[in-house]
């Protein structure tokens, strides 16, 4: 499984390095979302600081939706999805490979967005270790859920509009937990982020397990 995952990771990262879709399209869109929120709440600087954690994760969610779409559009041009199926790769390996590539791409984007909320929303970052832990766990959970539904949606003709419809509702628990954890670590709410981090960990494990088990039938779905 890991061997197959590594093959997918190397292939998808190479394709991303060449096409630069995440850096040239997804990242600018995420930054534009942050800027638009800043314009919309400009007269209420205090509200902007309070809303920064939620706005950060909403921007991540929309960007993730685009990145998932891209991840599976690679596999639909020239019917490469059929090509993958014909190779006899472990479906769990393909799933893990896709999840890890999405996590890497989004983590880089989240670093940029982190600077964005500091500059645009005057947010203050406190515990970097916990912030990075929250970000990685949330991104893993979102990437796993997104890969499950991205694969499902890609077998339909209406995949472009179907993916957000499936992905956004299922990612609500991760969005909520990540926002709550960020609120604590950005100092907008007093309390501990640990319970939320545990919930994020559970979601990540559940989505990853479901994905590894279900990706085979999903990949075979016509």
């Amino acid at each position: 499984m890991l061997h197959d995952a590594l093959l997918i990771i190397r292939k998808d990262l190479k394709i991303e390095f060449r096409s630069k879709v995440t850096t040239n399209q997804v990242a600018p869109m995420a930054i534009v979302i942050l800027i638009l929120f800043a314009f919309a709440l400009d007269t209420h600087q205090h509200k902007l600081i309070l809303a920064a954690p939620g706005l950060f994760w909403v921007a991540v969610l929309f960007s993730m939706s685009l990145a998932i779409h891209r991840s599976f559009s690679i596999e639909t041009s020239s019917s490469t999805r059929d090509g993958l199926r014909l190779l006899g790769l472990d479906p769990g390996g393909i799933f893990l490979g896709k999840v890890i590539v999405l996590t890497i791409e989004m983590f880089v984007l989240e670093i940029i967005l982190g600077f964005g909320i500091v500059v645009l929303y005057s947010a203050t970052l406190h515990n970097y270790f916990l912030l990075i832990s929250i970000t990685i766990l949330s991104t893993l959970g979102l990437a796993a859920a997104g890969t499950i539904f991205g694969s499902l949606a890609s077998s339909f003709k209406t995949k472009d509009t179907l993916l957000p419809l499936l992905f956004l509702p299922i990612s609500a628990p991760v969005l909520l937990s990540a926002t709550k954890a960020f609120q604590t670590e950005l100092g907008t709410v007093i309390g501990s982020s640990h319970p939320w981090i545990r919930i994020l960990g559970v979601f990540a494990v559940v989505y990853l397990t479901v994905g590894v088990l279900a990706f085979g039938p999903l990949l075979e779905e016509q």
């Binding site: 197959d4 093959l7 292939k11 190479k14 394709i15 060449r18 096409s19 690679i74 041009s77 020239s78 019917s79 490469t80 059929d82 090509g83 993958l84 199926r85 014909l86 190779l87 006899g88 790769l89 472990d90 075979e220 016509q222």
Partner: protein, 235 residues
């Protein structure tokens, strides 16, 4: 002779529409089968069913003595499929595509240079992104990948499409050579004359099943048991 592919009463549905309606077929090692029939008669569906790309609703498919449904992953690695699509990643070069497909299918990388050379894609062309290639060059790259994988079974859906005359001749010689080395080949093609000359057996399909089967060197029609009435009509 050893049967490499055995289909028994295979039925496959697309929604409620039968794309394969009771196919019985036995293919021996080294045979070159030419599937003929008009559009929509089930040639591509049959190739896809053998490749495990189409779910069958009843019947059995045995490849190399193993049940395809139970051993899909292992058996797929022994089959090469050349489809209407070339399965190539646009943002990878020809060589990178080949390396990926070979590594992923568990094949060695030893035959890459030879296959590229064979298909006239060696040198600088092998380092060109697939998105910048012509349809014919992409087709050649897909064939090069098929050769380099050293599969035991080749499933070729319209292999001559998109190729110039030289490349078609080259492909035909590759098919003959592979067959002599024990590779079993099933192909569908609208280049009937070329394909009949190439094949050892011709199978005619209509309405999702086999209606006639005869050796390409003889006029004798081998009537499938399940389709006697249909095949008599066609014959």
């Amino acid at each position: 002779m050893e049967n490499v592919i055995t289909l028994q009463s295979v039925v496959a549905l697309s929604g409620s529409y039968p794309i394969l309606s009771g196919v019985d077929l036995e293919v021996a090692r080294g045979e070159i089968i030419f599937l003929q029939g008009s559009n929509g008669t089930g040639k591509t569906s049959l190739l896809r069913a053998i490749g495990g790309l189409v779910s069958i609703s009843s019947g059995t498919i045995y490849i190399l003595g193993q049940d395809l449904l139970k051993n899909k992953r292992v058996l797929r690695q022994k089959m090469g499929f050349l489809s209407h699509s070339d399965f190539l990643y646009e943002d990878l070069t020809i060589e990178e595509n080949m390396r990926f497909y070979l590594k992923a299918s568990g094949a060695g990388l030893d035959h890459i240079d030879q296959a590229l050379d064979h298909m006239g894609l060696s040198g600088r062309l092998s380092k060109v992104l697939t998105s910048r290639l012509s349809v014919g060059q992409r087709r050649r790259a897909a064939i090069a990948t098929l050769i380099a994988r050293q599969c035991e079974i080749w499933l070729l859906d319209e292999p001559h499409a998109g190729l110039d005359a030289d490349a078609r001749d080259l492909l035909d010689s590759l098919i003959t050579q592979a067959s002599s080395q024990g590779v079993t080949i099933i192909l569908s093609s609208h280049e009937a004359n070329r394909a009949v000359e190439l094949s050892t057996r011709v199978i005619t399909m209509a309405g999702g099943h086999i209606v006639a089967s005869h050796l390409s060197t003889s006029d004798e029609i081998l009537i499938p048991k399940s389709t006697k009435s249909d095949s008599t009509n066609v014959a």
